[in-house]
C-alpha cells in the first residue's frame, strides 16, 4: 500500500459513507471528517509539493491492449489534489449544518448531494493520478459524469443546463478521443514518455491537428472561448455548496490535462515553432489570445448579471483565462502566476459562493435587485465577501494580487503589451462587477423584509472565515504557495521561479510582507483615529441625505437595477449574444441534418433500396 493507494482508498470510503449515511446529520459530519482524512493522506505525500519527492506510484495497475494502465501522483497532481480536497472539505462542512437540513426539508436528497460531491472528489483524484493517456481519458470521463450528476441534482432548469453541459462534454470527449487515437496511430503507445519522445519527429500538420483536437477537448471543460456558454448557468444552478465546489476546482481539471499533455509532453517551445501561415502568429500566440478573450468576454458578461450566483459563475469562466494565459506564456513568472491563480481563485471563489449561498439561506434570494443593506445583519458574511472580492479583483493585500501581478509581469517580460492590455481590461471588468456584487447585497438600504435577518449559522460562517484566513495569509506570505508552484514547475520542465516567503527575488520584484505591513500600519492608524476619536455617531438609514428628501421605508434609494448605466451606454451595443446565436445556428444545423437523415433512413429508404435494386438488376441484364 503506497500513500496514493491510501488516498484513493479513503476517497472511495468517503464515497461509500456519503451514499450510505449522507442523509443523516451525523453522516454529513462523518463525510466532512473523511475529507479531512483525505487531506491528511495527501499530506503524507507532501514531499511532492516541496520537490523532495518526485513521484508516488499506485500499486494498482491493469493491462489493456498490452498497455500498462498506471496511476501515480507527481507535484502537479499533488497541487491540484490539495485544492480539490480542500474545496471538498469546506463545501461538505458548509453543507453538513443548517444548509443540509433546509435542503432536505425542501425535498432535496442530501444523500445524493453528499454522494455526488464525494464522487466528484474521487473521480478528480483518479484523473489527477492518471499515469498515461488512457487513464487520463478514463478519469476525464469519470469527472464529466460526476459533474453532470451534481449539476443535475436540482432538476428542472438545472437539468436543462446540465444536459447542455453534457452535450458539450461529449463533443469535447470525442475531440479528445480523436486526439488520443491520432497519438496511438503516430506513437503506437499511450505512454507519456513515448509521446514526449515522438513529438520532435512529428510533422507540423499532425501536430496542428493534435493540438487543435486536444485543446478543444480540454477547452470544453475549462470553458475557454468559444466553448464558454455552458458553464456559468450550469454551475450557478447547482445546489448550494455544490456550486462552490464546482466553481472552485471542477473546470480546473481541463487546465490540469492541458498542462500535462500540451505543456509537459508537447511543450510550449514546440508550439512556438508552429507558425500560422500568412500571419505573424504561432500556436502559442493563438492560445494566449484565446485566453485573453476568455478573460474579457465572460467578465463583461458577468457585469450584466442580476443573479449573484450567475455573476460569480461567469467570473469563473473569465478567471480561467488568466490561468491559461499565465501557463501558455510559460516563463518562470507566468506559469507560477497561472498555477498560483488556480489555488487563489479556488479559495476566494468557494468563499464568495458560500457567502451568496448563506445570503440565499437567510433571505431566500440571490437576485441582486432584491437585496441590500445586509451589512448590519450579516457582518461576518460581509467580511468574508469583502476579502473575497478584493482577492477576485486582484488587489493587495489578498492572494489574488500576487498571482495577477505575476501574470502581468510575465506579459511585460515576454514583451506582449497587447495581451497585457487585454488582461487589464478584464481586471477592470472584474473590479466593476465585484463592486456591484457587494454593493447590491451588503451595502445601501436594508429592505423592510430583511430587518429580521440574522447572521448565517456557524456551520456556514466557520468555513467562510477559514477560507478568508487562507486568502489573507497566502496574500501576506505568497511564498507558502509559491513553494508548491515551484515544485510543479520543476516537475513539468519549466524554469523555476526564484522566490522567498514574501514574494519574488528579482529586480523590481515583489515583497508582499512589506506591502501588506505598510497597508496594515496605515489601516491601523485610521482605525485608532476612528475608535479613539470617539466622535462618531450612528444614525438610522432613513436619516440620510437624498437631495433633502424625507426618506421612508417605502422609498427605495438603494440604486441597484441598471448598474453602471454610463458604461452600458458606451459598451451596451457590444453585447450581441453572438455566441448564443452561433450555438443556436449549430443546433439547428445539426437538427436539420438529423431530420434529413431520419427521413432518409425511416421513410425514404425502401424506395431508395428499390431503386438501387432495379438499377442493379437492369444493369446486370443489359450488361
Amino acid at each position: 500500500m503506497t500513500a496514493l493507494d491510501n488516498l484513493l482508498l479513503i476517497s472511495a470510503v468517503t464515497l461509500v459513507i456519503a451514499v450510505l449515511a449522507g442523509n443523516s446529520r451525523v453522516g454529513g459530519w462523518l463525510v466532512t471528517i473523511m475529507y479531512a482524512l483525505q487531506g491528511a493522506a495527501l499530506m503524507m505525500m507532501s514531499g511532492l509539493g516541496y520537490s523532495t519527492l518526485t513521484m508516488v506510484q499506485s500499486s494498482f495497475s491493469i493491462e489493456v491492449l498490452s498497455q500498462q494502465l498506471l496511476w501515480r501522483f507527481d507535484a502537479l497532481s499533488w497541487f491540484f489534489a490539495l485544492i480539490t480536497i480542500g474545496a471538498g472539505l469546506f463545501c461538505s462542512w458548509f453543507a453538513s449544518g443548517e444548509w443540509g437540513e433546509k435542503y432536505r426539508d425542501n425535498g432535496g436528497s442530501l444523500r445524493l448531494f453528499h454522494g455526488a460531491l464525494a464522487l466528484n472528489v474521487f473521480s478528480m483524484l483518479v484523473l489527477l493520478a492518471s499515469g498515461d493517456l488512457l487513464t487520463l481519458f478514463i478519469g476525464w470521463e469519470l469527472v464529466s459524469w460526476a459533474s453532470f450528476l451534481i449539476m443535475a441534482l436540482a432538476g428542472g432548469k438545472a437539468f436543462g443546463y446540465a444536459m447542455r453541459y453534457i452535450s458539450y462534454a461529449f463533443a469535447g470527449a470525442m475531440a479528445l478521443l480523436g486526439g488520443l487515437l491520432l497519438i496511438y496511430a503516430e506513437v503506437g503507445s499511450f505512454d507519456f514518455q513515448s509521446l514526449k519522445e515522438a513529438v520532435p519527429t512529428m510533422s507540423s500538420a499532425t501536430l496542428w491537428l493534435l493540438v487543435v483536437l486536444l485543446t478543444a477537448g480540454f477547452g470544453v471543460k475549462m470553458a475557454i472561448l468559444p466553448f464558454h456558454l455552458w458553464q456559468a448557468k450550469a454551475y450557478a444552478e447547482t445546489p448550494g455548496p455544490g456550486a462552490a465546489f464546482l466553481g472552485a476546482i471542477s473546470s480546473r481539471m481541463g487546465l490540469f490535462a492541458f498542462i500535462v499533455v500540451i505543456v509537459q509532453l508537447i511543450g510550449i517551445s514546440r508550439l512556438v515553432e508552429m507558425k500560422i501561415p500568412f500571419t505573424f502568429l504561432d500556436a502559442q500566440d493563438l492560445l494566449a489570445w484565446i485566453a485573453v478573450f476568455t478573460i474579457i468576454i465572460p467578465t463583461y458578461i458577468a457585469l450584466r448579471q442580476h443573479d449573484a450566483r450567475r455573476l460569480l459563475a461567469w467570473h469563473g469562466v473569465g478567471q480561467t483565462g488568466y490561468m491559461l494565459l499565465g501557463i501558455v506564456i510559460a516563463n518562470d513568472l507566468g506559469s507560477a502566476g497561472g498555477l498560483m491563480h488556480v489555488f487563489n481563485y479556488a479559495t476566494y471563489q468557494a468563499m464568495l459562493f458560500m457567502v451568496v449561498i448563506a445570503v440565499i439561506h437567510r433571505t431566500g434570494t440571490s437576485n441582486l435587485n432584491k437585496l441590500g443593506g445586509l451589512f448590519t445583519r450579516m457582518p461576518l458574511s460581509y467580511l468574508a465577501m469583502l476579502v473575497g472580492i478584493i482577492g477576485l479583483a486582484g488587489l493587495p493585500p489578498m492572494n489574488g494580487f500576487v498571482s495577477k501581478w505575476l501574470i502581468y509581469r510575465s506579459l511585460i517580460v515576454d514583451g506582449s503589451p497587447l495581451l497585457f492590455l487585454g488582461a487589464v481590461i478584464g481586471t477592470l471588468g472584474t473590479i466593476l462587477s465585484v463592486y456591484k456584487l457587494i454593493h447590491n447585497i451588503f451595502l445601501g438600504q436594508l429592505r423592510v423584509e430583511h430587518v429580521a435577518v440574522r447572521e448565517a449559522p456557524l456551520s456556514m460562517v466557520i468555513p467562510m472565515m477559514l477560507l478568508a484566513a487562507v486568502v489573507f495569509v497566502t496574500g501576506y506570505f505568497p511564498g507558502l504557495v509559491l513553494d508548491w508552484t515551484s515544485a510543479v514547475q520543476a516537475s513539468i520542465g519549466i524554469p523555476v521561479l526564484a522566490h522567498h516567503l514574501g514574494g519574488i527575488d528579482m529586480k523590481g520584484g515583489l515583497d508582499m510582507i512589506w506591502i501588506v505591513s505598510v497597508l496594515l500600519v496605515g489601516f491601523g492608524f485610521g482605525t485608532l483615529v476612528f475608535f479613539l476619536g470617539g466622535r462618531s455617531k450612528r444614525v438610522h438609514q432613513l436619516d440620510n441625505y437624498a437631495g433633502g428628501h424625507f426618506l421612508t421605508a417605502e422609498t427605495r434609494y438603494h440604486y441597484s437595477d441598471n448598474f453602471y448605466p454610463g458604461l452600458m451606454h458606451l459598451i451596451g451595443p457590444w453585447y450581441r449574444n453572438s455566441f448564443e446565436w452561433l450555438e443556436r445556428g449549430l443546433i439547428s444545423a445539426v437538427d436539420t441534418l438529423s431530420t434529413a437523415m431520419q427521413g432518409l433512413y425511416r421513410n425514404a429508404h425502401p424506395s431508395y433500396l428499390l431503386l438501387a435494386v432495379v438499377v442493379f438488376a437492369l444493369s446486370w441484364v443489359i450488361v
Partner: protein, 248 residues
Amino acid sequence: MNELDKIPVRQEISVAQGGAKRTNPLANVFDELVRFCQSRSMFMLHYCTGCGAIELPPAMTSRFDMERLGIQPMVTPRQADILLITGYVSVKTLKRIILTYEQMPAPKYVIGICSCTVNGGMYWQSYATAKVLREYIPVDIYIAGCMPRPEAVISGLRDLMGDIKSGRADNWKRYFQNYDHYLGNQQQLFGEDWQTPTDIIAEAEHYGLMTDQTLGEHTALLQKHQQPLEALEFSLGEKREKIQGEER
C-alpha cells in the same frame, strides 16, 4: 427710510472681541490653531434654491477660484461645514433645508445669498415663500444683492472665515440653545406634526448646549408626535434566541 439704520453694519473684527478665551495660554494657542484650520478648510453644501446659484460656478471655477481660500463643494451634509442657500425659500424647500441643516455635524455655518433669504426679496408678496430665513435656522452671514456678484460671494465667505478665526461664528450653538424658538416658527409654518429624523434635543445634550430655552411648549408638542428612528445595530445572532423564544 430710517429702517436702514436698524440694519447692523459689520465692524472690522479683532481677535480681542472674539470668543471666550481660556486662561491656559497653551490651550489658547491650540484653540486658535483649531479655529485657523477650520477657517481654512470649508466644505460647502450648496442648497441651490433659486437664481443666486448661477453666480456660484464662476466663483468656484478658475476665474475667481474659491478653492485658493480652501473652500470646496461637498456632496453630503455629513461632511459639510457650510450650508449655502442661494435664493428664495419656498415653504416646501424650507422643510428640506431644515432637514439638511440638522444632518450637518457641528460646527456648521449657514450663508444666505441674495435678498430673498434676507426678507423675501422680489417674492415678498408670494404666499408660498418663507421670507426671513433666520427665523427658522440661525444664519451666520447674509450676502445681499439680487444677485450678488462672485466678488461679493467671496467677500462674504472671507467675512465668515474671519468670524471663524476669531471665534465669533457660533450661531450654530444658538439653534441648540434656542431650539424651542426655532421649532415654534417651524411648527407655525408646517403644522403641529412637523418633525425631522434628527433628534436635536439629544444632540444639544451631547454638545452640552442645553439651556432653559432649548425645551418649551413647542418641543413638548414635538415629543408628542415624534416617532424616533433607532440606528441599525450589528447583529450576530442574538435575534435568533429572541425569535426562538417567541416560538416556544
